[in-house]
Symmetry: C2
Subunit: 361 residues, 2 copies
């Protein structure tokens, strides 16, 4: 018998995250390892009356592209891609990698080109309901240094798929986050301090968004787009991240007038540099996020989970979410996480907002 | 290590069947059981410079549709389907069922409705290069009463994927078939006789097509569309077929003035009747095919193979291939096979063309 949490996660995605309606066309994409969840989402969409368009991909498709693709495969947006973006009323993407390091030796400049090429499609799809989730695979469990069973518990716990009434739980989280956002109304100066970290930025006239599981599943963060040019200082990120098929660790960035002027990494620094050179926006912050999900406690090396950990903050290089007021248009969006749970703090206009991972009330 | 015949079949499909060219967009669809072949086709398309669009489907997708779909799922052609047909320059479809009887209890009228709905898309795609093949699964092996390894040998043997130079082998088959077609030039009256079978039809002014592995892989048949209204007589088909998730056996049809006036089946007769009622064309013959592939000797219950067996003929109810001159526009196309290898014969204008499975020279 199939794990009943799979069908429950499918229901959360279809009924809560994108709130599919009858006769909508909904695109479902994901690697073949996610087949049980993809099939459950397909069924739930049918029950909601929507038209599912399933595009499951063989495992390692991107690796195969990098190994066999010709230059034009990285620079051409084919009409089908635009038609897909036009025809979908909503999209559900399911990450299900079988090897998170498969692109370790791929050329990062080719990757940057590919992301630039695909950007218009991603932008168009993000103007309609969309959600990104993850299906637990052995590869993700390995990164998290867990057994697959333990990692499944983490995923279904963090998404509330192990609860009887997950939708109510997501609504409660939304209310908690709304109270944090209310306290940030009118805020201007943000300062983040911690070991080897002291960085300031302005969020004046920007909007904090309540990330309540509609675009990311799981979620549990509030975020905004800082004022371009206001970021000053240095930050050493704590958590290693797997980004686009590589592990990058020990990232340290120095910002002057909003721009990264120094960047180093203990591991895969060359990839970091190539990503920074993708376009001008890639050297600027696009997002400040504040994690609130206390159901996730351990780093997993997977950004979808790590950035939500209660007690952490993250600054993303690149693209801003326009609904925040941020204007960064980069093809890159790379979240990097700072853990404030030990000797860290976040100040808002000089007052403690969060210290050592705990929100001040 | 992967079976090297998988990559060779991929090469046949890409380089020979659809002859993909650089910058063409090629759709690849198939069930998840075909993942090794789908991935190999994806790579070969990239190497050919084409843009692959992969739409792998979870196993049992159609069963899930019948179980969960609402009426509008069977009657609505969504804009995405038309866009897909428009954007593809060629398509490769890979059958890979994990259970060939999954639709045994589905409502055949709902199925007929679905096929009618999807017909414009299939028609549009068939106006461009397309090929249908099969990936060996345990379900197909089970139908053929073979082990999976034996069935793999049958598939890769019939497709020439076990040869060093499969493309030359397909070209040689094309030449052999061209000689048969030359002998049929100007032919009018066809008569097929055998146990409980005596049926006549006219192929006057119709074109015989050389099915040489470009649309079906494997292939090995020549076919035409008989003159509507000319089919007279009765036929008892020999081989059980699995058609759309059911096994149908012991089909017997009586034709008057081209129309099926009596139809019975030893197994699943109700489904047969529902298919005949799909539309007016479903009661008329759309195709007469003559199998030539002597590399396939045993019935497998799979039409893609069985209709190619050297020594058999098949009459398809429903849609004609317009390139033959046939005009049947039905949403149905159902091949039924008559084995002439024992006490059977095919006469052309009164002369023996094939007897007991052997072509007369």
């Amino acid at each position: 018998m199939q794990d009943p949490r799979v069908a429950r996660l499918a229901r959360i995605l279809v009924r809560y995250s994108i709130a599919a309606r009858s006769r909508q066309t909904v695109g479902v994409t994901g690697g073949s390892a996610a087949e049980p969840l993809i099939a459950a989402v397909y069924e739930e969409l049918l029950r909601a009356g929507a038209f599912p368009v399933v595009r499951m991909q063989p495992a390692d498709l991107t690796e195969r592209l990098f190994r066999n693709g010709k230059p034009h495969h990285f620079t051409t947006l084919i009409p089908f891609q635009r038609a897909y973006a036009r025809c979908m009323d909503a999209t559900i993407r399911i990450a299900a990698e079988v090897n998170t390091r498969g692109l370790s030796s791929a050329d990062p400049r080719r990757e940057a080109r590919l992301f630039r090429t695909l950007k218009p499609v991603g932008d168009a799809l993000r103007r309609k309901p969309w959600v990104l989730t993850l299906y637990p695979t052995a590869a993700y469990a390995q990164d998290a240094e867990m057994s697959l069973r333990e990692f499944e518990d983490l995923v279904y716990g963090a998404t509330f798929a192990d609860m009887r009434d997950p939708v109510s739980a997501w609504r409660a989280l939304r209310r908690r986050q709304a109270r944090l956002i209310a306290r940030l109304r009118g805020a201007d100066k943000i300062r983040i301090v911690g070991p080897d970290t002291d960085i300031r930025m302005s969020v004046r006239n920007r909007t904090f968004i309540n990330s309540d599981g509609r675009h990311n599943m799981p979620s549990g963060e509030i975020f905004t787009g800082p004022v371009a040019g206001s970021v000053e200082g240095h930050i050493r990120y704590d958590a290693a991240v797997c980004h686009r098929g590589r592990e990058i660790d020990g990232i340290r960035l120095v910002f002057r007038k909003g721009v990264v002027v120094e960047a180093s990494a203990a591991k895969n620094e060359k990839f970091l540099q190539a990503m920074l050179d993708t376009d001008p926006g890639a050297r600027r912050v696009g997002e400040l996020g504040i994690g609130t999900n206390t159901g996730i406690r351990r780093f997993t090396k997977n950004i979808l989970f790590d950035e939500k950990i209660g007690g952490t903050v993250h600054l993303a290089l690149g693209k801003a979410y326009p609904e925040t007021g941020g204007r960064n248009q980069s093809a890159v969006h790379w979240d990097m996480i700072k853990d404030l749970r030990r000797d860290g703090a976040l100040y808002v206009d000089g007052k403690v907002f969060q210290k050592n991972g705990t929100f001040k009330t």
